[in-house]
């Protein structure tokens, strides 16, 4: 939750990703309360409505849930749900960009596969 905000992306999307990241890293545990939108707003010096927008995206996805009068909690199974979601986007977010840049540079598919295999092999040799 202590990452810095940048200007690359909407603030509320960054709030969502930071909460996701904290769940993946076990900084926030399932069935545990997450900071309130007011707490997030004060921490990041952002409007509470913006913080709420980020949190609500996670509520809509079932990763967080509301306990009336108490606050927001991490749903059970949230960690697996985030991993599944990120795996589905992995191609879109990472592989596609890599392929475009490889094409720009004239790197062939074979060369790419070789690089990945070499990197993994290299780690084994160390």
């Amino acid at each position: 939750m202590q990452e810095l905000l940048n200007q690359e992306k909407s603030i509320y999307l960054q709030i969502r990703e930071m909460i996701e990241q904290d769940i993946l890293r076990d900084i926030l545990l399932e069935e545990e309360r997450v900071p309130s939108t007011n707490e997030l707003a004060k921490l990041y010096a952002i409007n509470p409505a913006t913080a709420a927008k980020g949190v609500n995206l996670l509520v809509d996805e079932g990763i967080l849930y509301k306990k009336r009068g108490i606050g927001m909690f991490v749903a059970s199974g949230a960690k697996e749900a985030i991993r599944k979601k990120r795996r589905e986007r992995f191609f879109e977010n990472y592989v596609k960009g890599m392929l475009t840049e490889a094409a720009n540079l004239g790197i062939s598919k074979e060369e790419l596969i070789e690089m990945i295999a070499w990197e993994q092999g290299g780690n084994e040799n160390e």
């Binding site: 905000l5 200007q7 690359e8 992306k9 909407s10 603030i11 509320y12 007011n38 707003a41 004060k42 990041y44 010096a45 952002i46 409007n47 509470p48 409505a49 913006t50 927008k53 475009t100």
Partner: protein, 293 residues
């Protein structure tokens, strides 16, 4: 906390023969932080002073709920405009000390929170015995921030509250503001030239340009609708065809332009072009910088 809306209808303001505000309509909802952004001389201070009935309009009306606010103490107790305090302002005020300002605020503001004021005076290390004409610009800003926050008015306007403040004091102010806002839900309108730092505080931004409201929009939505497109000129032109364009720049074969998408419009990402998000300061410059798109 009042749930009333503050509404300006058809506000025109003239100084002598010069009309500085042209037929302004503006609605301020309770429980929001608004950023009022405009160039020097756009009319920000005049607008805030009219909204708070410190200054008469040539025509038009300001209403809190259904009630006109002009010469209406019942409505005006909910509205406070903390003006910039000028060190060499009116001759009759230059001899005033910090504590005189605090005493005046206590006498005139029905919801004045003395405890909070004292806490803030201490936090900012303001010397109560010092004459305001001897205060630095930053200290004057701090005093006007104290008056604004401790006024507890439902609608509180701050004019350039961070001017002259160093970066630590500015961040301190943003946090104090958010603390007060999250606790009370008061409405704040804040004019500022330091756009980027404060952008994330504003639920909505109001661009005032040459005496007119150019836009009033949710900050995050505005930013999502503004995209910088660049690449080979023909491909950029094709991608942005029919869109609202601002600030076009061409260099050789390449071109960059800011697109402001209308509701429901989208921009297709193609191989040869780059799409980038734009920050609020850039949006402001593109829209109010003078060069028509």
């Amino acid at each position: 906390m009042s749930e009333k809306i503050l509404r300006a209808k058809g506000i025109v303001k003239k100084y002598g023969k010069q009309e500085v505000l042209h037929n302004i309509d503006l609605t301020l909802e309770p429980g929001k932080i608004y950023g009022l952004i405009g160039r020097n001389g756009a009319g920000k201070t005049t607008l805030l002073s009219i909204l708070s009935a410190q200054n008469p309009a040539a025509s038009g009306e300001i209403c809190l709920g259904e009630e006109p606010v002009w010469e209406n103490p019942g409505a005006l107790q909910h509205i406070f405009f903390s003006r910039e305090i000028s060190p060499n302002g009116a001759a009759d005020s230059s001899g005033l000390k910090v504590k005189d300002y605090l005493e005046m605020a206590e006498a005139y503001l029905p919801k004045w929170d003395k405890k909070m004021a004292e806490k803030l005076v201490e936090l900012f290390h303001l010397d109560r015995k010092k004459k305001t004409m001897k205060l630095s610009k930053g200290m004057l800003s701090m005093l006007s921030i104290v008056l604004a926050l401790a006024s507890k008015a439902d609608f509180t306007f701050l004019d350039e509250p961070v001017s002259g403040l160093d970066v630590v004091a500015r961040e301190q102010f943003y946090r104090l503001l958010l603390e007060e806002f999250t606790e009370t839900g008061r409405t704040f309108v804040i004019s500022t030239h330091i756009i980027e730092e404060a952008a994330d505080l504003f639920e909505e931004v109001i661009f005032l340009h040459e005496g007119r409201i150019l836009l009033k929009e949710n900050t995050q939505e505005l930013l999502e609708h503004c995209i910088y497109v660049s690449g080979r000129a023909e491909e950029v032109d094709q991608a942005v065809q029919g869109k609202e364009l601002h600030h076009q720049e061409t260099l050789g074969r390449s071109k960059g332009v800011m697109v402001r998408l209308r509701e429901g419009e989208t921009l297709e990402k193609t191989e040869g072009i780059t799409l980038q998000p734009v920050n609020l300061q850039k949006v402001f410059v593109a829209l109010c910088g003078g060069e028509a798109g």
